[in-house]
């Protein structure tokens, strides 16, 4: 039996509507987005609020008009969320699918532990971008801070600018494409050959991020796991 949808309660709710955080509470807005299966929404006056547009589970289009706080668009599934400003810690953390686009900068741990979908950051992302990445694709048009892609397991991190210290530390499997300089590589992260399939994957991600033809794929280097750390090696027995 199909689950009964609760109808949106706030008077200003509904499809194609403007949701104003100066008038509605955060919980009202998130609940309304959870109770809706389609439509376009503009959230006004976010003023750095935490946990906005989290756990969306329908193909909604949500635009947030300003800077957001922690965990915006976390656990996103199917929805397209655009942040017209900066995002705080953990934007799109644990995202499953859909698309999240930060038009400004993102703070630390952007896309942490996320399983799928596409996260685009027009500005810079700070430390630990893509930490414990599990399948999400991240495209950062600026630079990323230290410890990015720490313990990344699957997915892609594309950086048009530079990467900070210890990129890909303790990485399992994931592809890291950096156009600029890498300050240092973390433990077990190495530069790898860019094969045709990697070039094709990178081209696809750049196209999906609106950068088709704007960026030369030949300028990128690929980094990934040397696979020496996460496989048991008899010489390391003393370390256990």
């Amino acid at each position: 039996m199909p689950q009964k949808k609760r109808s949106p309660k706030p008077a200003s709710g509904g499809r194609n509507s403007v949701l104003d955080l100066a008038e509605l509470s955060l919980r009202q807005i998130n609940q309304l987005l959870h109770d809706t299966d389609a439509g376009d929404f503009l959230i006004k006056n976010p003023r750095g609020a935490h946990s906005l547009a989290c756990g969306l589970n329908a193909p909604l289009t949500v635009t947030i008009g300003g800077h957001v706080g922690y965990y915006c668009a976390g656990m996103n599934k199917l929805a397209t969320v655009t942040i017209d400003g900066n995002a705080g810690t953990g934007v799109a953390e644990n995202m499953m699918s859909g698309r999240v686009h930060v038009k400004g900068d993102a703070s630390q741990s952007a896309g942490a532990t996320a399983c799928g979908g596409l996260l685009i950051i027009d500005g810079n992302a700070s430390a630990r971008c893509g930490i414990s990445l599990r399948g999400l694709d991240i495209v950062v048009k600026g630079s990323v801070g230290h410890m990015s892609a720490f313990m990344a397991q699957a997915g892609n991190l594309v950086v048009l600018g530079d990467a900070g210290d210890a990129l890909g530390d303790s990485i399992y499997e994931a592809d890291l494409f950096v156009r600029g300089t890498v300050k240092s590589l973390g433990a077990d992260c190495v530069e790898k050959r860019m094969r045709d399939k990697h070039k094709a994957a990178l081209a696809k991600l750049l196209k999906a991020s609106g950068l088709a033809g704007e960026v030369d794929i030949g300028e990128f280097k690929r980094y990934g796991s040397a696979r020496r750390l996460y496989n048991f090696h008899i010489d390391n027995l003393g370390s256990y």
Partner: protein, 298 residues
């Protein structure tokens, strides 16, 4: 977790608004540090006057008698003013000597600051209630630093609330925890710094005060702190005419900065900055790890 706010005005136009804006910023950080709060406000010094701020449980200290006794020691007049559980003593005498005498002779009080510009106020409990009780919104001045505390390293007391100040017109607030503060405290004691708590942040404040007494600039002192302080920290530091920010190399503790032609502001999170005038036009950025950001007044 703790909350930090800081506002440094570049132009005098907003000075009457300093306390009001700082209270709005502090309000946004209440849930980051609900157990205690404090703030430092800097205003233009009066020629030849040093202000000493202190706090004590109501009725525990006779401030009139204390001012009289202090005056005899300093051989200078000491005026006193009481604001709730705080006292401000004003004198033409030596501020550092006054602070030392008060620490030794008025054990019921915590001495919060001394200097020509700085005034520090602190309390335990809801930060909004503390700001209201001490009328933070009514202050004018050139720069202010506020802190809401979620205690980890020492007890929830007024003395353990931030900002900490040991040197003249210098104060520091901290989000994080230091791991080498005990050894450093012993070293700084040998260099003549006076401590009132077991708190790690007081050691960081004393370290900077010591470095600046040794001739370092604020920026230089913070660059040395990167080598000498071990632990997690986001610091915001005030001096008579300066304002600075430093994050440790790992940068776990959050920080956002914004700057316009009129002001520079710091917040643990963006929402602390959201009420500032013209924040929409501000340059907003996250301070990089292990990088000193410093502003001064010409």
């Amino acid at each position: 977790m703790c909350g930090i706010v800081g506002l440094f005005l570049k132009l005098p136009g907003l000075e009457p608004e300093l306390g009001r804006l700082t209270s709005l910023m502090l309000h946004e950080m209440c849930d980051r540090g609900p157990d205690s709060a404090g703030f430092a406000v800097y205003s233009a010094p009066q020629e030849g006057v040093t202000k000493i701020c202190a706090v004590a449980a109501p009725g525990r200290v006779d401030w009139e008698a204390t001012a009289r006794d202090l005056g005899k020691v300093l051989r200078a007049d000491v005026e006193h003013q009481e604001i709730e559980d705080h006292a401000i003593l004003k004198t033409a005498g030596d501020g550092e000597a006054a602070r030392g005498w008060l620490i030794d002779n008025v054990p019921a009080a915590t001495i919060l600051s001394q200097g020509g510009s700085i005034e520090i106020f602190k309390g335990v409990g809801d930060p909004d209630a503390i700001a209201r009780r001490l009328d933070l919104a009514g202050f004018s001045g050139t720069h202010a630093i506020g802190h809401t505390r979620m205690a980890t390293e020492s007890a929830v007391t007024i003395a353990g609330s931030h900002p900490f100040s040991t040197g003249s017109d210098t104060c520091l607030v901290h989000n994080g925890s230091l791991s080498n503060h005990n050894r450093l405290r012993e070293l700084l004691k040998k260099r003549g710094e006076r401590f009132q708590t077991e708190n790690d942040t007081e050691v960081a404040a004393a370290y900077l005060a010591w470095r600046m007494k040794e001739g370092d600039t604020l920026k230089g002192a913070l660059e040395k702190a990167l080598d000498d302080l071990d632990g997690f920290y986001t610091f915001v530091v005030g001096t008579r005419d300066g304002f600075a920010v430093l994050r440790d190399p790992v940068a776990c503790k959050p920080a956002v900065m914004a700057e316009t032609d009129d002001w520079v502001a710091f917040g643990s999170e963006y929402r602390a900055l959201s009420a500032l005038p013209d924040v929409d036009k501000a340059r907003i950025w996250e301070p990089a790890p292990a990088t000193v950001y410093a502003w001064g007044r010409a």
